[in-house]
Symmetry: C2
């Protein structure tokens, strides 16, 4: 039931995002944008849709922030995969953008996906109140930029050449920026569109994002590269500190499980309606890709 729902949401986000990007024509950069934005689990988009549903925001509107956050996520992956960053050839089982096209196209496609994300939440179809659209875009800029996701990526790069590996608290702070900021924005989009209190969704996203990242580290050690569709055991090879290297495998899994429960508790105010969010929290720590 939950997986059906997740897949239905992923399909809706996929269609919406592809349609939004189709307007950019068929230059290589536009085709690269569409290619980079296709596929994936759409967890951030799903989070935006669920937060909206809980606050009675129409799905036709909520698909704009859902598509926008997936566009930002896609841009970050395209740039992250570049040779000068993580240097990955494979993403979601397919050649990365700079492999399929070239590095210049990958830089530009990522750049334009970021612009496109802002365009999506600022369109009138997203919300009739310009104050809401402006608030969505302002918080997106903060979540994506140098006080959010980009800071997390920069800390991650700095850690590679640091003299000592990061400690647990430092990794948690890094991940709160790198993954948490976009999760948080997605979760808060629904309440923000409804003019409701975003605190429960924000607390849910904080715990969910960290659980997600710990599960990612577990997956990097235990996972099956074929199922994951990307290269694994990269962190160990790079000698990077991870939740698993710092805590050990079993304690890391236990911490992820505790965080998933914490996420569930955060959405208790929504009662039975938050069942899907509780299932999402459990899904995030048990996924194979």
């Amino acid at each position: 039931m939950f997986r059906v729902r997740l897949e239905a949401a992923a399909g809706a986000v996929e269609t919406h995002l592809a349609a939004a990007l189709a307007g950019y024509g068929d230059l290589p950069v536009a085709r690269a944008m569409a290619y980079a934005a296709a596929g994936g689990k759409r967890l951030r988009g799903f989070l935006a849709l669920e937060g909206a549903r809980l606050h009675r925001v129409e799905e036709a509107r909520a698909l704009w922030p859902a598509a926008a956050i997936e566009a930002v996520h896609a841009y970050s992956l395209v740039h992250d995969d570049l040779p000068c960053m993580d240097d990955d050839d494979l993403r979601r089982g397919q050649p990365t953008v700079h492999v399929k096209w070239d590095e210049a196209t990958a830089v530009l496609a990522g750049d334009a996906l970021q612009s496109a994300a802002f365009e999506m939440v600022l369109r009138e179809e997203c919300h009739p109140d310009p104050a809401v659209r402006a608030a969505l875009a302002l918080t997106l800029a903060r979540a994506a930029g140098a006080a959010g996701m980009v800071r997390g990526q920069a800390l991650d790069i700095a850690a590679e050449s640091a003299e000592r590996p990061l400690g647990l608290r430092e990794i948690e702070a890094l991940q709160a920026d790198k993954t948490g900021a976009l999760f948080g924005w997605a979760a808060e989009a629904g309440p923000r569109m409804a003019g409701a209190d975003a605190a429960p969704m924000a607390a849910y996203a904080r715990a969910l994002g960290l659980a997600f990242q710990i599960a990612d580290d577990v997956l990097d050690v235990e996972g099956d590269a074929r199922k994951a569709g990307k290269r694994l055991q990269k962190d160990a090879a790079a000698g990077k500190a991870t939740f698993v290297s710092l805590m050990g495998l079993a304690p890391a899994k236990a911490r992820a499980a505790a965080l998933a429960e914490e996420a569930c508790d955060a959405v208790a105010p929504y009662g039975a309606e938050a069942r899907t969010l509780r299932e999402l929290a459990r899904f995030v720590i048990s996924r194979e890709s």
Copy 2:
């Protein structure tokens, strides 16, 4: 008198932009953002300030779009200078970001400068009406993205490996995206903030942007690399079609002069108050850097 005014405006934009970026802390990525955003002629920022002044928009507000458009311009230069793009070591007489730091930091600093630009126009200090802030940000996203500046950059890259060089009309279309879109946005910001007709400023910017680009091609052939603070004769070395290669030097200069006059005519409705804009049009075709 005009140069004093241009320098005063550049100084005000410089200070405002530096203050806006200071909030991102002192990680290498934040220092690289500030470094990349420092200096330059600030023509786009000046255009935003002048358009605002003509429409009685307070300078304290207009400095936000002025700083934002310079942040977008700076991000585009940082990414354009990357080895996979134009591969430039020198910019404004200083080492480029990827030379001074590294490529990963240059990618991330550019990315975060783009986010920061949206943040600037979406702050309440920029304009009290959220509809105006949302409109500024939406049009900025369109001007910067895959239907604007990035499309121009992508066309430029595609031209390098094309079988035949571009024709004059194709170069004009390319430049309208690559340079014109940001010039246009800057020029229209003032009328947009005042709720006034943006058509005269838009027409001015179209002619100014093209004159600027033709002058750039002239400078690339005739200029002094020391004064320009960047490598020149790159286009000829790359065998790229330019306004000069297609038209010849004298006709290109004549066309730039005619466009500068066209720009002056476009702002005739503002009467004597548009004197600075007329001087700017003449400055743009006579500059040495």
